[in-house]
């Protein structure tokens, strides 16, 4: 299920229980990247959020997590990808308390608040890709 490469991991999401695997992988990777405990927890939560969304709305997909580096910073990049129904109105999905499912509707905006960078691309009928990055403070 998990594919280990140097500083990169992929977790396939097929069942709700796989979100647990995504979560612990994210936490380990965040630790490896040198994030402090609170940040490890925040990142793991954001990944869990994205993974739960995939299972709930697309049924299946995958989360890719890798350690990234630019000139002076180290960070973690999370790419959550599915080939599900897509999101019709991204702006609406990014609003607090909006949900088409029976949930709190804080997931995506919450992920955006937790991570430093967040982009979402979605095509109706083709799928959704969320890319999120967090840099070490």
């Amino acid at each position: 299920m998990m594919n280990d490469m140097a500083g990169e991991c992929r977790v396939d999401l097929v069942d709700l229980s796989d979100t647990g695997a995504a979560l612990s992988t994210a936490r380990l990777m965040a630790k490896e990247a040198g994030f402090e405990e609170t940040d490890q927890y925040l990142i793991a939560t954001a990944v869990s959020e994205l993974a739960t969304n995939i299972i709930r709305y697309a049924g299946r997909g995958a989360v890719n997590i890798r350690i990234i580096q630019d000139d002076e910073r180290t960070g973690l990049e999370v790419i959550a990808q599915d080939s599900g129904p897509g999101i019709e109105d991204i702006e609406q999905a990014m609003q607090d308390n909006y949900s088409t499912g029976n949930s709190l509707g804080l997931g995506l905006p919450g992920v955006k608040r937790i991570m430093d960078e967040f982009t979402i691309e979605s095509r109706v009928g083709q799928g959704t890709t969320c890319t999120a990055r967090k840099w070490r403070r």
Binding site: S24, Y41, L42, L104, L106
Partner: protein
């Protein structure tokens, strides 16, 4: 002379092709447009326990009796109609044996590309299915043993929550909690989430629902074990726990519960 040579070469190729197909360690067969068997390799014959002469010309559904046979689920028909290969899980019934299989069906075309039938190969996935079943049973066992509701004091129930909370688990927690409240007439319950892997919005939603349900049963609910990391996560996610009482540790929560119940812990003289 040239013609003879060519036919010899082609019969050599046919023989080689048959030998290759016979030695593929998985059943392979082909049918015509009426689903009648026109080829089956050695492994397929072994699976059926039949010789070629007893299988060829018979419709495949009369040999395999699978769940998909003669239904809209049949991927062979789908592949023949769409011209695209199809894979699915299925169960074949051969004699008295039921074999879990995964099969891939593809259209069979003539040299002009016209679909003249279909071909299929079958993988016996008995072991995979058995492993999956064992895995499901194990995770159910883990879930069952991981939601203990403990009567800590007269009127106080503690539910320590560890690991990953999903919908199924939340439902079990809710059940364990409500049953215990009824059994023990508890007035205070403490939900200790120190060991939860992550409190995301889904988990928070479950926790809020559990506290609401316990309130309806006339019970006060305290969520304890809110670490600095959890607190920051909840704030970042924008989750409002509203009037749910929270504590950073189980110890504080227990202290609050005692106060609420007018109990005092004293050192023995």
């Amino acid at each position: 002379m040239a013609i003879k040579k060519k036919s010899m070469a082609s019969s050599m190729n046919d023989e080689l092709a048959t030998r290759v197909l016979d030695q593929i360690p998985t059943p392979v067969f082909a049918v015509d447009m009426d689903m009648k068997l026109i080829f089956i390799n050695q492994q397929g014959r072994t699976l059926l326990g039949k010789e070629s002469k007893d299988a060829l010309g018979h419709p495949c559904y009369s040999l395999f009796h699978s769940q998909h046979c003669e239904t809209a689920e049949c991927r062979m028909k789908t592949a023949m109609a769409s011209g695209e290969p199809c894979t699915a899980r299925n169960e074949a019934k051969i004699g008295d044996r039921v074999v879990p299989i995964e099969y891939t069906a593809a259209p069979l075309t003539d040299k002009n590309g016209k679909v003249v039938g279909g071909l299929e190969y079958i993988l016996d996935i008995t072991e995979r299915v058995r492993d999956e079943k064992r895995l499901r049973e194990q995770s159910r066992t883990i879930q069952e043993i991981s939601t203990p509701a403990i009567s800590l004091w007269e009127g106080i129930v503690v539910l320590p929550v560890l690991g990953v909370v999903d919908s199924l688990r939340a439902k079990q927690m809710m059940n364990a909690m409500l049953t215990k409240i009824k059994e023990t007439a508890a007035k205070t319950i403490i939900l200790d989430i120190q060991g939860v892997a992550a409190v995301d919005t889904a988990v928070a939603n479950h926790l809020i629902k559990i506290t609401k349900a316990t309130k309806l049963m006339g019970c006060r609910c305290i969520i304890s074990g809110i670490s600095p990391a959890v607190a920051e996560t909840l704030v970042q996610l924008g989750i409002d726990l509203g009037d749910v009482a929270t504590n950073s540790s189980l110890r504080d929560a227990l202290g609050d519960a005692f106060t609420f119940m007018n109990l005092e812990v004293k050192k023995a003289k």
